[in-house]
């Protein structure tokens, strides 16, 4: 039995976290960790070193970009791919994913359905 993919969700939208966790867990291939603010997210990432981080751009305590920068500065978390899931992006923004990378990171517009989210995560991990 292969190792499950460890996904860390950092998003202040608690219900979003709840459903992502539920749907991805049901899929069977994922192990989900949840942080509902930036500070907890960074701490959790350092401790658990997930395979991928789903990161919100707008959070009350700190912006997603700052969280990403902090993670990348830290050697232990620097290599973890980050997927920004944001309500501000449009499909045009991700028409060419490579161009829309924020540094080494990826971007995905909200709303997204479970199937597409899983595909994107697998795609990113398969590529990196």
């Amino acid at each position: 039995m292969s190792e499950k993919i460890r996904v860390l969700i950092i998003d202040d939208e608690v219900d979003f976290c709840y459903f992502v966790q539920k749907n991805l867990t049901r899929d069977g291939r994922f192990n989900i960790l949840v942080a509902t603010n930036g500070k907890d997210g960074i701490e959790l990432a350092e401790n658990e070193i997930p395979d991928i981080i789903l990161l919100d751009l707008f959070m009350p305590d700190m912006p997603g970009e700052d969280v990403a920068a902090a993670l990348q500065e830290n050697i232990t978390t620097a290599g973890i791919p980050i997927l920004f899931v944001t309500a501000l992006a449009t499909n045009d923004d991700i028409a060419n994913r490579d161009e829309n990378k924020i540094g080494n990171n990826y971007i995905m517009p909200k709303p997204v359905r479970t199937k597409k989210l899983i595909e994107t995560i697998l795609d990113i991990l398969g590529r990196s």
């Binding site: 979003f16 539920k22 309500a87 449009t90 045009d92 909200k110 709303p111 997204v112 479970t114």
Partner: protein
């Protein structure tokens, strides 16, 4: 030299001389009959008094015909009467001759007067000789009477001729003055009769209509001058006749198509002095083209300012709305995400045979999709995503837009006319953005013509030199187009129902639509407007209700380096 000898002064001096001579006869008379002597002094007094009147009477009365003849008669009677009362004459014939000469004076002809005087002087001399008076002891005093009569007659003659000459000079002076005014004035002036026939014209008018001199115009009528403009002729004639009818001055303004000039006309009655009836009409026409043009320019400027102001407000509103749309999109997409995720969760928990539940889920997803779609539109309105301004050929782009709507055009029976400049035009822009703008305008045009009989869509594309100041067109660094630059203009005209006047200012506002709720989001034109802003171009509209609408898209032909996209 002091002031020159005026006619009045001459009369005064000659009369004074006559009075002195007559007084000499009266006072120092060598004759025997002195019974009238006292009356003689009264005569001298009266005569001196009249000379004082001559000296001080105002010119106005001195040159009056009635007063003049009264004065001549008075002199004619009083002078011989004075000499007679002096008892010097000794012959009542003397009186008679004086009266005859006085009457001759009325003839107003100097030569006639002189011939008469000489003729009667000769007869008088002959009669004196016959009576033997010329050989007696008083011969000298009798003989002196003849030259005295002649001198008096010459004096009268002088008065007559100078009076007439004076009158002529005065009339000529007045005429010349009026002539000068009429010719020097800057207005067109003429006098016409009831049929509009010219009786007089000034040089200005003669030259304006391209004639050599006044004589070529006299006898012609107004209609012959305006022969290409019958309505104008009719109007002028009606005004002329109204002056005849109402005996009142009228004013009106008109445009002379042949000369391209505006005129302000004043038609005044010229009245018969005795009956006060109008017998001619004087027309004075002043060129007011400059004033009218200035007024028009002012109106245009005010309109432009108004429009610019509206557009600025519009831009402001759109910027604010853009920011708001961004936040709203963000706030709505998050709950939408939860709905999608929740539905995904539910779908997995519904038994596959529960069709009812599955249908409900589908309906929820559909509604969420619709909401997401609106958000996408709003967001693309709020911030146009990635674009790249390059120089690209315009004609293929326009043709491609028309190809995209080919089916709709066929279905609606719209006739398309392409009117492109021969030279292939290049514009600075982003292909997708421009396609979006033109597609939107073409679709709107087709929609506007749906219920119209004539369905004609015209697309014009041409290069234009920027000459007039307008919205974002001028000399300021903020302006998109500078005076003297080239701009590429695309006109999209339809023969549709047009835009209601009240809607003209609103059409670029987000969410403004005249289409039914499910047919249009009301974002098309506002997005087009915003795109044009991004491309440093402008979009304007002209529309007449029930005739059609034209959109003017003005684009850069070169890439502007200074203009950077904002968000």
């Amino acid at each position: 030299m002091a002031e020159p000898l005026t006619r009045k002064k001459t009369v005064f001096l000659v009369r004074l001389a006559v009075i002195v001579i007559t007084s000499y006869f009266i006072i120092l008379s060598p004759s025997t009959g002195k019974q009238w002597e006292n009356y003689g002094y009264i005569f001298i007094a009266i005569y001196l008094l009249t000379n004082l009147i001559v000296a001080y009477i105002p010119d106005k009365y001195f040159y009056d015909d009635k007063i003049f003849y009264g004065f001549v008669l008075f002199d004619s009677i009083l002078l011989p009467a004075g000499i007679y009362v002096s008892g010097y004459v000794g012959s009542e014939l003397y009186l008679m001759f004086f009266f005859i000469i006085s009457l001759t004076t009325m003839s107003s002809n100097f030569g006639y007067l002189m011939v008469n005087t000489l003729f009667y002087s000769f007869i008088y001399g002959w009669l004196l000789y016959q009576r033997g008076l010329l050989t007696g002891p008083d011969a000298i005093s009798y003989l002196i009477q003849i030259p005295f009569i002649i001198i008096i007659a010459v004096f009268y003659g002088f008065l007559i001729t100078t009076r007439l000459k004076d009158k002529d000079i005065r009339i000529n002076e007045a005429r010349e003055r009026y002539e000068k005014i009429v010719q020097a004035t800057d207005v067109l002036m003429c006098i016409v009769d009831y049929d509009g026939k010219f009786l007089f014209t000034n040089q200005k008018l003669v030259k304006f209509y391209g004639y050599k001199d006044e004589n070529n115009l006299l006898g012609l009528t107004i209609s012959q001058l305006h022969n290409e403009d019958e309505a104008e002729t009719e109007k002028t004639l009606n005004y002329v006749r109204s002056v005849y009818k109402n005996n009142e001055t009228v004013h009106y303004e008109s445009y002379d198509k042949n000369h391209g000039k505006w005129f302000a006309h004043t038609l005044s009655p010229i009245r018969d002095p005795s009956t006060s009836n109008v017998f001619e009409v004087c027309i004075i026409s002043k060129d007011i083209t400059d004033i009218m043009e200035k007024e028009q320019k002012l109106n245009e400027t005010v309109e432009l300012l108004q429009r610019t102001r509206n557009q600025l407000i519009q831009k402001d509103k759109m910027a604010a709305l853009g920011r708001m749309a961004s936040s709203i999109a963000h706030e709505i997409r998050n709950p939408l995400e939860i709905i999608y995720m929740g539905v995904d969760d539910l779908e997995n928990n519904i038994p596959s045979d529960n069709k009812q539940m599955q249908e409900s889920i589908e309906k929820i997803i559909k509604a969420a999709d619709r909401a997401d779609n609106i958000i996408k539109n709003v967001l693309s309105f709020a911030r146009q995503s990635s674009y790249k301004i390059i120089r690209l050929p315009l004609h293929p782009l326009l043709n491609n837009v028309l190809a995209l709507v080919e089916q709709t055009i066929q279905k609606n029976g719209v006739i398309v006319q392409r009117d492109y400049d021969n030279d292939s035009l290049e514009v600075a822009g982003d292909y997708n953005m421009l396609e979006h703008v033109f597609l939107n305008l073409v679709n709107n045009a087709i929609d506007a013509m749906k219920e119209r009989k004539e369905k004609k869509l015209t697309i014009r594309a041409y290069k234009q030199l920027v000459t007039d100041i307008g919205y974002k067109i001028g000399l300021s660094p903020d302006d998109f187009f500078r005076i003297g630059d080239d701009m590429i203009v695309v006109e999209i005209s339809d023969t549709g129902k047009g835009i209601a006047k009240g809607d003209m200012t609103k059409i670029f506002e987000p969410f403004f639509t005249t289409k039914p709720a499910n047919e249009g989001t009301g974002l098309g034109l506002s997005i087009a407007h915003m795109i044009m802003d991004r491309l440093s171009g402008t979009i304007d509209v002209e529309s007449t209700e029930n005739e059609g609408t034209t959109f003017f898209v003005k684009l850069q032909s070169e890439i502007k380096t200074t203009n950077t996209a904002e968000v």
